[in-house]
Amino acid sequence: MESVKVINLKKIFGEQIAVNSINFTIGEGEIVGFLGPNGAGKSTTMKMLTGFLPPSAGESWVTGFNVEKNPLEVKRNIGYLPEHNPLYLDVYVKEYLLFCAGIFKLDKKEERVKNIIDRVGLTPEYKKKIGQLSKGYRQRVGLAQALIHDPKVLVLDEPTSGLDPNQIVEIRNVIKEFGKDKTVILSTHIMQEVQALCDKVIIINKGVIVANDNVQNLQNTSKTKTIIVVQLSKEIELNIFRAVQGVLQAKRIAANKYELECTSDIREQLFFAVAPTGSAIINMQLEQQSLEEIFKILTNPNLKV
């Protein structure tokens, strides 16, 4: 069953079309990465999904409820962490979370707050004012706020931006932990994040979806050729490589190191071709085209493979 459905969603700010008639669906329990350069329309789309901004045209549904017609039901089922993680800085962590729990009219508030503080790893800091916390802990407060009512859908707008590498890993772990039984949409412009966290990726550029697929497929399909890097113990003639069927191009990139453009993964054939020359294969590597390159290609029309 789909938990988020978006049909022809469009947002126009004055003259500028921020989001241009996008369509997508997200299944229950999926973790989806919303990828795109700054100003691509990621945040705007999220704001429309969470009911903060109304769309100029089109409709969206969250857990079966129409965002425009049933905003309160949608908001009850969504946990939202806005970009830049806005917080009341002069409020105590626990007080703030109790306030959020109060809005949702949850019972056993104290217990829930304690539980969520524990789960997002805020325990050492929960007696402080939010303004006294480091950025990483503030981000945890933002996550706790979004998670307190145990929502079915989690919408996170750049949850790891501005954090140091350790904090990024920690926040990712929290997201992963909670993402097990939730639908998660997270926006980012960091490729590794998508690779580390997401099942699916939606790439958006200038308000248009340029790719919507699972991470594995995207890596395979957009790859036009296979690159194999071979490291040998001794130099050999490039022609030996060229003679192997499937090799399109061979080039020496360093001492004893060759880069081969092939039609497919022909590592086995290469092994037998090199073996008779007396040069041993020390290393042979299949280069995966990284999401980063795919992203570059998809979001920059002037760049072709």
Binding site: K47, T50, G51, F52, L53, P54, L72, E73, K75, R76, I78, Y80, P82, H84, P86, L87, Y88, L89, D90, V91, E95, F99, C100, G102, I103, F104, Q145
Partner: protein, 241 residues
Amino acid sequence: MIAVFLKEIRGFFSSLIAYIVIIVFLIIIGLLTWVFKNNTFESGYSNLDILFFWSPSVLIFLISAITMRSFSEEKKSGTLEILITKPLTDFQIVLGKYFAGLVLVFLALLPTLIYFFTVYQLGDPVGNIDTGATWGSYMGLLWLGSIYVSIGLFSSALTDNTIVAFILSFFLCLIMYIAFDLLSGVSWFSGIDYYVQWLGINSHYQSISRGVLDTRDLLYFISTTVLFLWLTKTKLESRKW
């Protein structure tokens, strides 16, 4: 709504805002009533007219100060986005903040009951005070505060700058309180001066201060409060236009 209300109240009391508002109000009003020239003792009558004469002006200043942050700060820091994406209607957010402001006004007025008690005891004979008019005036002050709070919220919703919100609120409260009274004296309005005066808070405040709870006055107070609360809500919703 209750969650927002409690959060605002807690905000008032955990920062110094609530204490400062109450203390400053009591000091100013206390000085005017008991110490400065033309004080209650000098008037020769056992009444609190001076308190009720000055309070509306002092409240303009204080209520503008307590409401100036309510929306402007939330807008500026982005927390309004969190609030709006919670399962609350825009009107619930506005009402939560409105009642919190009103409670603060109530708490500021509460200690002045001691003044009432004092004058009551000082009367000759004891208790020689127009109790009806005093209670009426207190009612009037609360209603006046209610309009001020709604004006303050509206001004705060208009901008993300707290100082602009304060000045705007101050200006609008002043207009609503006294400007219509003054305008009614202008010769242009000679035929309709009563109606012009009727638009301002002061005429209704004076009327209720006599101790008569006229439904027309109540209707004015309620509808003006609701009008500004509605305008605030409409402003919040304007993000959707």
